[in-house]
Protein backbone atom coordinates (compact mmCIF):
# COMPACT_ATOMS: atom_id res chain seq x y z
CA UNK A 1 0.00 0.00 0.00
CA UNK A 2 1.46 3.33 -1.05
CA UNK A 3 0.88 6.02 1.48
CA UNK A 4 -0.01 9.58 0.55
CA UNK A 5 3.16 10.99 2.07
CA UNK A 6 5.38 8.97 -0.21
CA UNK A 7 3.38 10.04 -3.26
CA UNK A 8 3.53 13.68 -2.16
CA UNK A 9 7.30 13.44 -1.74
CA UNK A 10 7.74 11.87 -5.14
CA UNK A 11 5.47 14.46 -6.73
CA UNK A 12 7.62 17.11 -5.13
CA UNK A 13 10.89 15.66 -6.44
CA UNK A 14 9.21 15.49 -9.83
CA UNK A 15 8.55 19.22 -9.67
CA UNK A 16 12.19 19.87 -8.68
CA UNK A 17 13.36 17.72 -11.60
CA UNK A 18 10.89 19.53 -13.84
CA UNK A 19 12.29 22.88 -12.68
CA UNK A 20 15.73 21.89 -13.96
CA UNK A 21 14.25 20.65 -17.24
CA UNK A 22 12.42 23.97 -17.62
CA UNK A 23 15.73 25.85 -17.38
CA UNK A 24 17.30 23.70 -20.10
CA UNK A 25 14.27 23.55 -22.40
CA UNK A 26 13.59 27.26 -22.01
CA UNK A 27 17.12 28.09 -23.15
CA UNK A 28 16.73 25.77 -26.13
CA UNK A 29 13.33 27.23 -26.97
CA UNK A 30 14.36 30.89 -26.68
CA UNK A 31 17.34 30.32 -28.96
CA UNK A 32 15.22 28.46 -31.49
CA UNK A 33 12.36 30.98 -31.37
CA UNK A 34 14.73 33.84 -32.09
CA UNK A 35 17.55 32.44 -34.23
CA UNK A 36 15.89 29.38 -35.73
CA UNK A 37 18.84 27.32 -34.49
CA UNK A 38 18.56 24.08 -32.55
CA UNK A 39 21.50 24.05 -30.21
CA UNK A 40 22.77 20.46 -30.06
CA UNK A 41 25.55 21.57 -27.70
CA UNK A 42 22.90 22.49 -25.14
CA UNK A 43 23.42 19.35 -23.05
CA UNK A 44 27.19 19.79 -23.15
CA UNK A 45 26.81 23.41 -22.03
CA UNK A 46 24.59 22.23 -19.16
CA UNK A 47 27.48 19.96 -18.15
CA UNK A 48 30.01 22.78 -18.60
CA UNK A 49 27.80 24.93 -16.34
CA UNK A 50 27.87 22.26 -13.62
CA UNK A 51 31.67 21.97 -13.85
CA UNK A 52 32.10 25.75 -13.90
CA UNK A 53 29.93 25.96 -10.77
CA UNK A 54 31.98 23.24 -9.12
CA UNK A 55 35.23 24.96 -10.01
CA UNK A 56 34.18 28.43 -8.84
CA UNK A 57 32.69 26.96 -5.66
CA UNK A 58 35.92 25.13 -4.85
CA UNK A 59 38.00 28.25 -5.59
CA UNK A 60 35.93 30.61 -3.46
CA UNK A 61 34.77 28.03 -0.95
CA UNK A 62 31.19 29.14 -1.46
CA UNK A 63 28.36 27.54 -3.44
CA UNK A 64 26.75 30.96 -3.88
CA UNK A 65 29.58 32.35 -5.94
CA UNK A 66 29.42 29.28 -8.14
CA UNK A 67 25.69 29.75 -8.60
CA UNK A 68 26.18 33.39 -9.54
CA UNK A 69 29.39 33.40 -11.57
CA UNK A 70 29.18 30.12 -13.51
CA UNK A 71 25.98 30.87 -15.49
CA UNK A 72 27.26 34.36 -16.34
CA UNK A 73 30.64 33.05 -17.47
CA UNK A 74 29.12 30.24 -19.53
CA UNK A 75 26.59 32.71 -20.96
CA UNK A 76 29.44 34.92 -22.16
CA UNK A 77 31.12 31.81 -23.59
CA UNK A 78 27.82 31.17 -25.39
CA UNK A 79 27.95 34.63 -26.93
CA UNK A 80 31.46 33.88 -28.19
CA UNK A 81 30.10 30.67 -29.77
CA UNK A 82 27.33 32.59 -31.53
CA UNK A 83 29.71 35.28 -32.73
CA UNK A 84 32.51 33.03 -33.96
CA UNK A 85 30.85 29.81 -35.07
CA UNK A 86 27.12 30.22 -35.65
CA UNK A 87 27.03 33.67 -37.25
CA UNK A 88 28.87 32.52 -40.41
CA UNK A 89 26.13 29.92 -40.94
CA UNK A 90 23.11 32.23 -41.14
CA UNK A 91 21.58 32.08 -44.58
CA UNK A 92 22.79 28.53 -45.13
CA UNK A 93 20.78 25.33 -44.65
CA UNK A 94 19.04 25.01 -41.25
CA UNK A 95 20.94 21.76 -40.78
CA UNK A 96 24.32 23.48 -40.69
CA UNK A 97 24.13 25.18 -37.25
CA UNK A 98 22.69 21.93 -35.92
CA UNK A 99 25.64 19.92 -37.24
CA UNK A 100 28.11 22.51 -36.00
CA UNK A 101 26.70 22.61 -32.47
CA UNK A 102 26.72 18.82 -32.38
CA UNK A 103 30.44 18.88 -33.17
CA UNK A 104 30.91 21.55 -30.56
CA UNK A 105 29.21 19.41 -27.91
CA UNK A 106 31.52 16.55 -28.87
CA UNK A 107 34.56 18.80 -28.39
CA UNK A 108 33.31 20.30 -25.11
CA UNK A 109 32.73 16.89 -23.50
CA UNK A 110 36.25 15.81 -24.43
CA UNK A 111 37.76 19.13 -23.26
CA UNK A 112 36.11 18.70 -19.86
CA UNK A 113 37.45 15.13 -19.70
CA UNK A 114 40.96 16.49 -20.29
CA UNK A 115 40.68 19.21 -17.64
CA UNK A 116 38.65 17.46 -14.93
CA UNK A 117 39.10 13.77 -15.71
CA UNK A 118 36.56 11.21 -16.92
CA UNK A 119 35.29 10.18 -13.49
CA UNK A 120 32.33 11.77 -11.79
CA UNK A 121 32.89 14.31 -9.03
CA UNK A 122 30.48 14.55 -6.10
CA UNK A 123 29.04 18.02 -5.53
CA UNK A 124 28.24 18.81 -1.91
CA UNK A 125 24.91 20.39 -1.08
CA UNK A 126 25.70 23.74 0.56
CA UNK A 127 25.40 23.38 4.35
CA UNK A 128 22.75 26.10 4.62
CA UNK A 129 20.49 24.10 2.32
CA UNK A 130 21.16 20.58 3.62
CA UNK A 131 18.57 18.69 5.61
CA UNK A 132 14.82 18.48 5.33
CA UNK A 133 11.91 20.79 6.09
CA UNK A 134 8.55 19.79 7.56
CA UNK A 135 5.78 21.24 5.43
CA UNK A 136 2.94 19.66 7.37
CA UNK A 137 2.26 17.01 4.71
CA UNK A 138 5.72 15.46 4.98
CA UNK A 139 9.45 16.11 5.08
CA UNK A 140 11.05 17.61 2.01
CA UNK A 141 14.75 18.18 1.23
CA UNK A 142 15.43 21.91 1.62
CA UNK A 143 17.72 21.98 -1.40
CA UNK A 144 14.94 20.90 -3.75
CA UNK A 145 12.64 23.55 -2.31
CA UNK A 146 15.42 26.02 -3.01
CA UNK A 147 15.74 24.85 -6.62
CA UNK A 148 12.02 25.26 -7.20
CA UNK A 149 12.09 28.74 -5.62
CA UNK A 150 15.06 29.89 -7.72
CA UNK A 151 13.48 28.65 -10.95
CA UNK A 152 10.11 30.21 -10.08
CA UNK A 153 11.81 33.53 -9.34
CA UNK A 154 13.78 33.36 -12.57
CA UNK A 155 10.68 32.60 -14.62
CA UNK A 156 8.98 35.63 -13.10
CA UNK A 157 12.02 37.76 -13.90
CA UNK A 158 12.17 36.43 -17.45
CA UNK A 159 8.48 37.14 -17.94
CA UNK A 160 8.94 40.70 -16.70
CA UNK A 161 11.90 41.25 -19.02
CA UNK A 162 10.11 39.83 -22.05
CA UNK A 163 6.77 41.54 -21.42
CA UNK A 164 7.67 44.84 -19.79
CA UNK A 165 11.00 46.00 -21.20
CA UNK A 166 12.05 47.39 -24.55
CA UNK A 167 14.55 44.56 -24.96
CA UNK A 168 11.75 42.06 -24.44
CA UNK A 169 9.63 43.84 -27.01
CA UNK A 170 12.46 43.64 -29.56
CA UNK A 171 13.00 39.96 -28.78
CA UNK A 172 9.33 39.11 -29.24
CA UNK A 173 9.06 41.16 -32.42
CA UNK A 174 12.31 39.74 -33.75
CA UNK A 175 11.01 36.22 -33.27
CA UNK A 176 8.04 37.15 -35.47
CA UNK A 177 9.92 38.89 -38.26
CA UNK A 178 13.64 39.72 -38.10
CA UNK A 179 13.49 41.42 -41.53
CA UNK A 180 11.01 44.07 -40.38
CA UNK A 181 13.11 44.68 -37.28
CA UNK A 182 16.09 45.42 -39.49
CA UNK A 183 14.02 47.81 -41.57
CA UNK A 184 12.99 49.57 -38.35
CA UNK A 185 16.64 50.14 -37.56
CA UNK A 186 17.13 47.54 -34.85
CA UNK A 187 20.56 45.89 -34.81
CA UNK A 188 19.10 42.40 -34.79
CA UNK A 189 22.44 40.61 -34.80
CA UNK A 190 23.25 42.15 -31.42
CA UNK A 191 19.90 40.91 -30.09
CA UNK A 192 20.70 37.43 -31.42
CA UNK A 193 24.04 37.52 -29.65
CA UNK A 194 22.37 38.40 -26.34
CA UNK A 195 19.58 35.86 -26.79
CA UNK A 196 22.05 33.07 -27.49
CA UNK A 197 24.03 34.08 -24.39
CA UNK A 198 20.80 34.14 -22.36
CA UNK A 199 19.74 30.69 -23.55
CA UNK A 200 23.15 29.21 -22.82
CA UNK A 201 23.27 30.96 -19.44
CA UNK A 202 19.89 29.41 -18.51
CA UNK A 203 21.05 25.88 -19.25
CA UNK A 204 24.32 26.53 -17.35
CA UNK A 205 22.27 27.69 -14.37
CA UNK A 206 20.27 24.49 -14.68
CA UNK A 207 23.56 22.59 -14.59
CA UNK A 208 24.75 24.31 -11.41
CA UNK A 209 21.37 23.83 -9.73
CA UNK A 210 21.23 20.15 -10.70
CA UNK A 211 24.81 19.42 -9.60
CA UNK A 212 24.12 18.79 -5.89
CA UNK A 213 21.22 16.46 -6.81
CA UNK A 214 23.37 14.17 -8.95
CA UNK A 215 27.00 13.41 -9.67
CA UNK A 216 28.88 15.81 -11.92
CA UNK A 217 30.39 13.91 -14.85
CA UNK A 218 31.28 14.65 -18.48
CA UNK A 219 28.38 12.53 -19.78
CA UNK A 220 25.66 14.19 -17.69
CA UNK A 221 24.68 16.44 -20.60
CA UNK A 222 23.66 13.69 -22.99
CA UNK A 223 20.62 12.55 -21.01
CA UNK A 224 19.69 16.18 -20.39
CA UNK A 225 19.83 16.98 -24.12
CA UNK A 226 17.43 14.15 -24.91
CA UNK A 227 15.17 15.24 -22.04
CA UNK A 228 15.20 18.84 -23.24
CA UNK A 229 14.27 17.71 -26.76
CA UNK A 230 11.39 15.66 -25.39
CA UNK A 231 10.18 18.63 -23.36
CA UNK A 232 10.37 21.01 -26.34
CA UNK A 233 8.62 18.57 -28.66
CA UNK A 234 5.83 18.01 -26.12
CA UNK A 235 5.50 21.70 -25.27
CA UNK A 236 5.89 23.00 -28.80
CA UNK A 237 9.09 24.46 -30.23
CA UNK A 238 9.58 28.14 -29.53
CA UNK A 239 6.75 28.32 -26.98
CA UNK A 240 7.87 29.45 -23.52
CA UNK A 241 4.63 28.44 -21.79
CA UNK A 242 4.93 25.09 -23.54
CA UNK A 243 8.43 24.57 -22.16
CA UNK A 244 7.23 25.28 -18.62
CA UNK A 245 4.13 23.07 -18.73
CA UNK A 246 5.91 20.22 -20.53
CA UNK A 247 8.94 20.49 -18.22
CA UNK A 248 6.76 20.00 -15.15
CA UNK A 249 4.76 17.28 -16.88
CA UNK A 250 7.88 15.30 -17.82
CA UNK A 251 9.52 15.82 -14.40
CA UNK A 252 6.45 14.57 -12.54
CA UNK A 253 5.90 11.71 -14.99
CA UNK A 254 9.50 10.52 -14.49
CA UNK A 255 9.41 10.62 -10.70
CA UNK A 256 5.95 9.06 -10.40
CA UNK A 257 6.99 6.19 -12.69
CA UNK A 258 10.14 5.81 -10.60
CA UNK A 259 7.82 5.13 -7.66
CA UNK A 260 5.51 2.62 -9.29
CA UNK A 261 7.66 1.02 -12.02
CA UNK A 262 11.31 2.05 -11.58
CA UNK A 263 12.53 0.24 -14.70
CA UNK A 264 10.18 2.36 -16.84
CA UNK A 265 11.33 5.71 -15.43
CA UNK A 266 13.77 6.60 -18.23
CA UNK A 267 11.39 5.36 -20.88
CA UNK A 268 8.12 7.02 -19.92
CA UNK A 269 8.97 10.49 -21.22
CA UNK A 270 9.67 9.11 -24.69
CA UNK A 271 6.31 7.35 -24.65
CA UNK A 272 4.70 10.68 -23.73
CA UNK A 273 6.48 12.31 -26.64
CA UNK A 274 5.40 9.61 -29.08
CA UNK A 275 1.81 10.09 -27.92
CA UNK A 276 1.97 13.86 -28.43
CA UNK A 277 3.50 13.36 -31.88
CA UNK A 278 0.64 11.08 -32.90
CA UNK A 279 -2.12 13.34 -31.60
CA UNK A 280 -0.64 16.81 -32.03
CA UNK A 281 2.64 16.85 -34.00
CA UNK A 282 3.23 20.59 -33.39
CA UNK A 283 3.26 20.07 -29.60
CA UNK A 284 0.78 21.14 -26.94
CA UNK A 285 1.43 24.89 -27.34
CA UNK A 286 3.08 24.98 -30.75
CA UNK A 287 1.80 26.77 -33.83
CA UNK A 288 0.77 24.27 -36.53
CA UNK A 289 2.88 25.87 -39.30
CA UNK A 290 6.15 25.20 -37.63
CA UNK A 291 6.12 21.46 -37.02
Amino acid sequence: MMDAELIAMQLFSGIALGAILIMVALGLSIIFGMLGVVNFAHGALFMVGAYAGLWVASLTGSFWWGLLVAPLAVGIFGMAIEYLLIRPLYGRSVDDPLLLTFGLGYVLVEAVRIVFGSDGIPFQTPPQLAGVADLGIGFFPIYRLFVIAVVALLLLLLWLVLEKTKFGLIVRAGAQDPQIMRVLGVDISRVWLLVFGLGVGLTALGGVLAAPMRNVNPEMGSLVLAEAFVVTVIGGMGSLVGAIVAGLLVGVAISMTALFAPEMATIVMFALMALVLLVRPQGLFGKPGRA
Binding site: F40, L85, G103, A271
Partner: protein
Protein backbone atom coordinates in the same frame (compact mmCIF):
# COMPACT_ATOMS: atom_id res chain seq x y z
CA UNK B 1 39.04 12.06 -82.93
CA UNK B 2 42.16 12.64 -84.98
CA UNK B 3 45.13 14.78 -84.09
CA UNK B 4 44.35 17.18 -86.95
CA UNK B 5 41.13 18.38 -85.31
CA UNK B 6 41.14 22.12 -84.98
CA UNK B 7 41.60 23.64 -81.58
CA UNK B 8 38.09 25.15 -81.75
CA UNK B 9 36.56 21.73 -82.07
CA UNK B 10 38.74 20.43 -79.25
CA UNK B 11 37.48 23.18 -76.97
CA UNK B 12 33.92 22.52 -78.01
CA UNK B 13 34.12 18.80 -77.28
CA UNK B 14 35.91 19.16 -73.99
CA UNK B 15 32.81 19.60 -71.83
CA UNK B 16 31.12 16.58 -73.39
CA UNK B 17 34.17 14.46 -72.68
CA UNK B 18 34.15 15.65 -69.14
CA UNK B 19 30.49 14.92 -68.77
CA UNK B 20 31.24 11.51 -70.23
CA UNK B 21 33.83 10.99 -67.54
CA UNK B 22 31.20 11.68 -64.90
CA UNK B 23 28.64 9.42 -66.55
CA UNK B 24 31.20 6.60 -66.70
CA UNK B 25 31.99 7.13 -63.02
CA UNK B 26 28.30 6.74 -62.18
CA UNK B 27 27.95 3.73 -64.47
CA UNK B 28 30.94 1.98 -62.90
CA UNK B 29 30.41 3.10 -59.32
CA UNK B 30 29.52 -0.31 -57.91
CA UNK B 31 32.40 -2.27 -59.54
CA UNK B 32 34.79 0.55 -58.62
CA UNK B 33 33.61 0.48 -54.99
CA UNK B 34 34.02 -3.28 -54.84
CA UNK B 35 37.50 -3.03 -56.34
CA UNK B 36 38.45 -0.41 -53.75
CA UNK B 37 37.05 -2.59 -50.95
CA UNK B 38 39.03 -5.59 -52.23
CA UNK B 39 42.24 -3.58 -52.08
CA UNK B 40 41.48 -1.87 -48.77
CA UNK B 41 43.07 -4.43 -46.39
CA UNK B 42 46.35 -4.28 -48.32
CA UNK B 43 46.52 -0.49 -48.33
CA UNK B 44 45.60 0.25 -44.71
CA UNK B 45 48.01 -0.36 -41.81
CA UNK B 46 45.86 -3.02 -40.12
CA UNK B 47 43.22 -5.60 -40.93
CA UNK B 48 41.10 -4.38 -38.01
CA UNK B 49 41.02 -0.87 -39.45
CA UNK B 50 40.01 -2.18 -42.87
CA UNK B 51 37.14 -4.19 -41.36
CA UNK B 52 35.97 -1.13 -39.43
CA UNK B 53 36.09 1.03 -42.56
CA UNK B 54 34.06 -1.64 -44.38
CA UNK B 55 31.35 -1.82 -41.70
CA UNK B 56 31.16 1.88 -40.84
CA UNK B 57 31.42 2.81 -44.51
CA UNK B 58 28.38 0.64 -45.23
CA UNK B 59 26.62 2.24 -42.25
CA UNK B 60 27.32 5.70 -43.67
CA UNK B 61 26.14 4.59 -47.12
CA UNK B 62 22.82 3.53 -45.59
CA UNK B 63 22.57 6.79 -43.70
CA UNK B 64 23.48 8.81 -46.78
CA UNK B 65 20.42 7.44 -48.56
CA UNK B 66 18.33 9.44 -46.07
CA UNK B 67 20.55 12.42 -45.24
CA UNK B 68 22.36 12.95 -48.52
CA UNK B 69 19.69 11.96 -51.03
CA UNK B 70 16.37 12.58 -49.27
CA UNK B 71 17.66 15.56 -47.28
CA UNK B 72 16.46 14.36 -43.88
CA UNK B 73 18.95 14.89 -41.05
CA UNK B 74 18.31 11.98 -38.71
CA UNK B 75 20.11 11.79 -35.40
CA UNK B 76 18.73 8.37 -34.56
CA UNK B 77 20.38 5.89 -36.91
CA UNK B 78 22.30 4.29 -34.06
CA UNK B 79 18.98 2.61 -33.20
CA UNK B 80 18.89 0.62 -36.46
CA UNK B 81 22.60 -0.15 -36.42
CA UNK B 82 22.24 -1.34 -32.82
CA UNK B 83 19.00 -3.24 -33.46
CA UNK B 84 20.69 -5.21 -36.25
CA UNK B 85 23.64 -6.04 -34.01
CA UNK B 86 21.59 -6.93 -30.94
CA UNK B 87 19.01 -9.07 -32.73
CA UNK B 88 21.76 -11.02 -34.51
CA UNK B 89 23.63 -11.52 -31.23
CA UNK B 90 20.51 -12.52 -29.28
CA UNK B 91 19.38 -14.92 -32.02
CA UNK B 92 22.70 -16.74 -31.85
CA UNK B 93 23.35 -16.52 -28.09
CA UNK B 94 19.87 -17.25 -26.76
CA UNK B 95 18.21 -19.24 -29.53
CA UNK B 96 21.18 -20.93 -31.15
CA UNK B 97 20.17 -19.65 -34.58
CA UNK B 98 22.46 -20.28 -37.53
CA UNK B 99 24.52 -17.28 -38.65
CA UNK B 100 22.54 -16.60 -41.82
CA UNK B 101 19.22 -16.82 -40.01
CA UNK B 102 20.56 -14.47 -37.35
CA UNK B 103 21.79 -12.09 -40.04
CA UNK B 104 18.43 -12.08 -41.80
CA UNK B 105 16.59 -11.58 -38.50
CA UNK B 106 18.86 -8.67 -37.61
CA UNK B 107 18.24 -6.92 -40.90
CA UNK B 108 14.48 -7.46 -40.76
CA UNK B 109 14.28 -6.29 -37.13
CA UNK B 110 16.29 -3.16 -37.90
CA UNK B 111 14.08 -2.45 -40.90
CA UNK B 112 10.90 -2.88 -38.84
CA UNK B 113 12.22 -0.57 -36.15
CA UNK B 114 13.09 2.00 -38.83
CA UNK B 115 9.56 1.69 -40.21
CA UNK B 116 7.99 2.36 -36.78
CA UNK B 117 10.34 5.23 -35.87
CA UNK B 118 9.88 6.55 -39.40
CA UNK B 119 6.09 6.68 -39.06
CA UNK B 120 6.43 8.80 -35.91
CA UNK B 121 9.25 11.10 -36.96
CA UNK B 122 8.11 11.80 -40.52
CA UNK B 123 5.05 13.53 -39.06
CA UNK B 124 7.45 16.34 -38.19
CA UNK B 125 9.54 18.50 -40.49
CA UNK B 126 12.84 20.34 -40.55
CA UNK B 127 14.61 20.79 -37.28
CA UNK B 128 11.94 18.89 -35.35
CA UNK B 129 12.79 15.75 -37.30
CA UNK B 130 16.37 15.67 -35.98
CA UNK B 131 15.20 16.11 -32.40
CA UNK B 132 12.49 13.47 -32.62
CA UNK B 133 14.75 10.86 -34.21
CA UNK B 134 17.36 11.53 -31.52
CA UNK B 135 14.80 11.19 -28.73
CA UNK B 136 13.25 8.00 -30.16
CA UNK B 137 16.66 6.38 -30.58
CA UNK B 138 17.46 7.24 -26.97
CA UNK B 139 14.25 5.41 -26.08
CA UNK B 140 15.73 2.33 -27.77
CA UNK B 141 18.99 2.88 -25.88
CA UNK B 142 17.30 3.02 -22.47
CA UNK B 143 15.09 0.06 -23.32
CA UNK B 144 18.19 -2.00 -24.12
CA UNK B 145 19.81 -0.77 -20.89
CA UNK B 146 16.79 -1.88 -18.85
CA UNK B 147 16.23 -5.21 -20.60
CA UNK B 148 19.54 -6.51 -19.23
CA UNK B 149 18.43 -10.15 -19.21
CA UNK B 150 18.20 -9.99 -23.00
CA UNK B 151 20.85 -7.50 -23.93
CA UNK B 152 23.40 -7.80 -21.10
CA UNK B 153 22.63 -4.19 -20.11
CA UNK B 154 25.65 -1.99 -19.53
CA UNK B 155 28.12 -4.85 -20.03
CA UNK B 156 26.95 -5.40 -23.57
CA UNK B 157 25.93 -8.65 -25.20
CA UNK B 158 28.49 -11.45 -25.15
CA UNK B 159 28.83 -15.14 -25.81
CA UNK B 160 27.94 -15.61 -29.45
CA UNK B 161 31.27 -16.13 -31.15
CA UNK B 162 30.82 -17.47 -34.65
CA UNK B 163 33.89 -19.61 -35.36
CA UNK B 164 32.98 -20.91 -38.78
CA UNK B 165 30.33 -20.31 -41.37
CA UNK B 166 28.51 -23.24 -42.92
CA UNK B 167 26.61 -22.78 -46.14
CA UNK B 168 25.59 -25.40 -48.71
CA UNK B 169 28.14 -27.86 -47.36
CA UNK B 170 30.95 -25.32 -47.49
CA UNK B 171 32.77 -24.38 -44.31
CA UNK B 172 34.59 -21.09 -43.99
CA UNK B 173 36.99 -20.31 -41.17
CA UNK B 174 35.51 -17.11 -39.74
CA UNK B 175 38.29 -16.59 -37.18
CA UNK B 176 40.85 -15.81 -39.88
CA UNK B 177 40.79 -11.99 -40.26
CA UNK B 178 41.35 -11.99 -44.03
CA UNK B 179 38.64 -14.56 -44.74
CA UNK B 180 36.32 -12.72 -42.37
CA UNK B 181 36.91 -9.45 -44.18
CA UNK B 182 36.07 -10.87 -47.58
CA UNK B 183 32.97 -12.67 -46.30
CA UNK B 184 31.68 -9.44 -44.78
CA UNK B 185 32.63 -7.65 -47.99
CA UNK B 186 30.30 -9.83 -50.03
CA UNK B 187 27.35 -8.53 -48.02
CA UNK B 188 28.57 -4.95 -48.21
CA UNK B 189 29.00 -5.26 -51.98
CA UNK B 190 25.47 -6.61 -52.36
CA UNK B 191 24.16 -3.70 -50.31
CA UNK B 192 26.12 -1.21 -52.42
CA UNK B 193 24.62 -2.66 -55.57
CA UNK B 194 21.16 -2.42 -53.97
CA UNK B 195 21.68 1.24 -53.02
CA UNK B 196 22.97 2.03 -56.51
CA UNK B 197 19.85 0.41 -58.02
CA UNK B 198 17.61 2.50 -55.72
CA UNK B 199 19.38 5.69 -56.74
CA UNK B 200 19.07 4.83 -60.45
CA UNK B 201 15.38 4.01 -60.14
CA UNK B 202 12.51 6.51 -60.56
CA UNK B 203 12.13 6.34 -56.79
CA UNK B 204 15.71 7.63 -56.46
CA UNK B 205 14.74 10.62 -58.58
CA UNK B 206 11.68 11.25 -56.41
CA UNK B 207 13.60 11.38 -53.13
CA UNK B 208 16.14 13.76 -54.68
CA UNK B 209 13.25 15.91 -55.86
CA UNK B 210 11.94 15.97 -52.27
CA UNK B 211 15.38 17.04 -51.05
CA UNK B 212 15.56 19.85 -53.59
CA UNK B 213 12.04 21.18 -53.13
CA UNK B 214 9.47 19.36 -51.07
CA UNK B 215 6.60 21.68 -51.96
CA UNK B 216 7.24 21.31 -55.68
CA UNK B 217 7.55 17.53 -55.40
CA UNK B 218 4.18 17.49 -53.67
CA UNK B 219 2.71 19.76 -56.33
CA UNK B 220 3.98 17.35 -59.00
CA UNK B 221 1.77 14.73 -57.43
CA UNK B 222 4.37 12.64 -55.65
CA UNK B 223 3.39 11.14 -52.33
CA UNK B 224 6.02 12.90 -50.24
CA UNK B 225 5.28 11.27 -46.87
CA UNK B 226 5.21 7.77 -48.31
CA UNK B 227 8.46 8.30 -50.22
CA UNK B 228 10.15 9.65 -47.11
CA UNK B 229 8.97 6.67 -45.08
CA UNK B 230 10.24 4.23 -47.71
CA UNK B 231 13.60 6.02 -47.85
CA UNK B 232 13.78 6.01 -44.06
CA UNK B 233 13.04 2.28 -43.90
CA UNK B 234 15.49 1.37 -46.68
CA UNK B 235 18.16 3.47 -45.01
CA UNK B 236 17.42 1.71 -41.71
CA UNK B 237 17.69 -1.68 -43.44
CA UNK B 238 21.19 -0.94 -44.74
CA UNK B 239 22.28 0.38 -41.34
CA UNK B 240 20.86 -2.74 -39.69
CA UNK B 241 22.88 -4.87 -42.10
CA UNK B 242 26.00 -2.96 -41.04
CA UNK B 243 24.99 -3.71 -37.44
CA UNK B 244 24.65 -7.45 -38.03
CA UNK B 245 28.06 -7.47 -39.74
CA UNK B 246 29.54 -5.64 -36.75
CA UNK B 247 28.03 -8.22 -34.36
CA UNK B 248 29.44 -11.13 -36.40
CA UNK B 249 32.80 -9.37 -36.57
CA UNK B 250 33.20 -8.37 -32.91
CA UNK B 251 31.29 -11.28 -31.31
CA UNK B 252 30.13 -8.76 -28.71
CA UNK B 253 27.62 -5.91 -28.91
CA UNK B 254 28.61 -2.94 -26.73
CA UNK B 255 25.65 -0.92 -25.41
CA UNK B 256 27.31 2.27 -26.67
CA UNK B 257 26.45 1.53 -30.27
CA UNK B 258 22.83 2.45 -29.47
CA UNK B 259 23.75 5.81 -27.96
CA UNK B 260 23.09 8.97 -29.94
CA UNK B 261 26.83 9.62 -29.96
CA UNK B 262 26.99 6.75 -32.46
CA UNK B 263 24.29 8.47 -34.52
CA UNK B 264 26.40 11.59 -34.38
CA UNK B 265 29.44 9.65 -35.51
CA UNK B 266 27.48 8.37 -38.54
CA UNK B 267 26.46 11.95 -39.36
CA UNK B 268 30.07 13.12 -39.02
CA UNK B 269 31.43 10.37 -41.28
CA UNK B 270 28.82 11.06 -43.94
CA UNK B 271 29.43 14.80 -43.88
CA UNK B 272 33.23 14.49 -43.78
CA UNK B 273 33.17 12.35 -46.91
CA UNK B 274 30.42 14.20 -48.71
CA UNK B 275 26.68 13.76 -48.21
CA UNK B 276 24.70 13.08 -51.35
CA UNK B 277 27.53 11.43 -53.26
CA UNK B 278 27.94 7.69 -53.80
CA UNK B 279 31.58 7.37 -52.75
CA UNK B 280 31.44 10.10 -50.09
CA UNK B 281 30.31 7.98 -47.11
CA UNK B 282 33.12 5.45 -47.59
CA UNK B 283 35.66 8.24 -47.98
CA UNK B 284 34.24 9.82 -44.80
CA UNK B 285 34.35 6.60 -42.79
CA UNK B 286 37.92 6.06 -43.95
CA UNK B 287 38.93 9.63 -43.03
CA UNK B 288 37.20 9.45 -39.63
CA UNK B 289 38.66 6.09 -38.63
CA UNK B 290 42.12 6.95 -39.95
CA UNK B 291 42.04 10.16 -37.92
CA UNK B 292 40.98 8.20 -34.85
CA UNK B 293 43.73 5.66 -35.48
CA UNK B 294 46.49 8.23 -35.97
CA UNK B 295 45.48 10.67 -33.22
CA UNK B 296 45.07 7.81 -30.73
CA UNK B 297 48.81 7.26 -31.04
CA UNK B 298 49.36 10.68 -29.45
CA UNK B 299 46.47 11.07 -27.07
CA UNK B 300 43.47 9.13 -25.81
CA UNK B 301 41.42 12.29 -26.34
CA UNK B 302 41.15 11.84 -30.10
CA UNK B 303 37.53 13.02 -30.05
CA UNK B 304 38.59 16.62 -29.49
CA UNK B 305 40.64 16.56 -32.69
CA UNK B 306 37.98 14.77 -34.74
CA UNK B 307 35.29 17.11 -33.37
CA UNK B 308 37.33 20.19 -34.26
CA UNK B 309 37.99 18.89 -37.77
CA UNK B 310 34.25 18.26 -38.12
CA UNK B 311 33.42 21.83 -37.02
CA UNK B 312 35.90 23.19 -39.57
CA UNK B 313 34.29 21.07 -42.28
CA UNK B 314 30.82 22.38 -41.44
CA UNK B 315 32.14 25.93 -41.57
CA UNK B 316 34.38 25.77 -44.63
CA UNK B 317 33.84 22.52 -46.56
CA UNK B 318 30.19 21.53 -46.05
CA UNK B 319 30.33 19.34 -49.17
CA UNK B 320 32.92 17.08 -47.56
CA UNK B 321 36.09 15.61 -49.06
CA UNK B 322 34.60 13.79 -52.02
CA UNK B 323 31.89 16.36 -52.69
CA UNK B 324 34.43 19.18 -52.72
CA UNK B 325 36.73 17.21 -55.01
CA UNK B 326 33.84 16.64 -57.44
CA UNK B 327 32.81 20.30 -57.35
CA UNK B 328 36.41 21.39 -57.85
CA UNK B 329 36.82 18.99 -60.75
CA UNK B 330 33.62 20.28 -62.36
CA UNK B 331 34.76 23.89 -62.10
CA UNK B 332 38.24 23.29 -63.47
Amino acid sequence: MTASTSSVAAVATRPTNRRGWRARLILWRVPLSILALCLLPWVLPSMALATNVLIYGLLAVGYNLLFGYTGLLSFGHAAFFGAGAYVTGIAIAQFGASWYAALALGVVAGGLLAFVIGILSIRTRGIYFSMVTLALSQLVYYTALQAASWTGGENGLRGFTVGQLDLFGWTVDFLDPVTKYYVLMVFAAAALWFVSRILNSPFGAVIEAIRENETRARACGYHVERSKLIAFTLSGLICALAGTLLALHLAIVPLDILHYQTSGMIVMMTLLGGAGSFFGPFVGALAFLLMEDVVSLWTSHWQIVVGTVFILFVLFLPKGIWGTALAWEARR
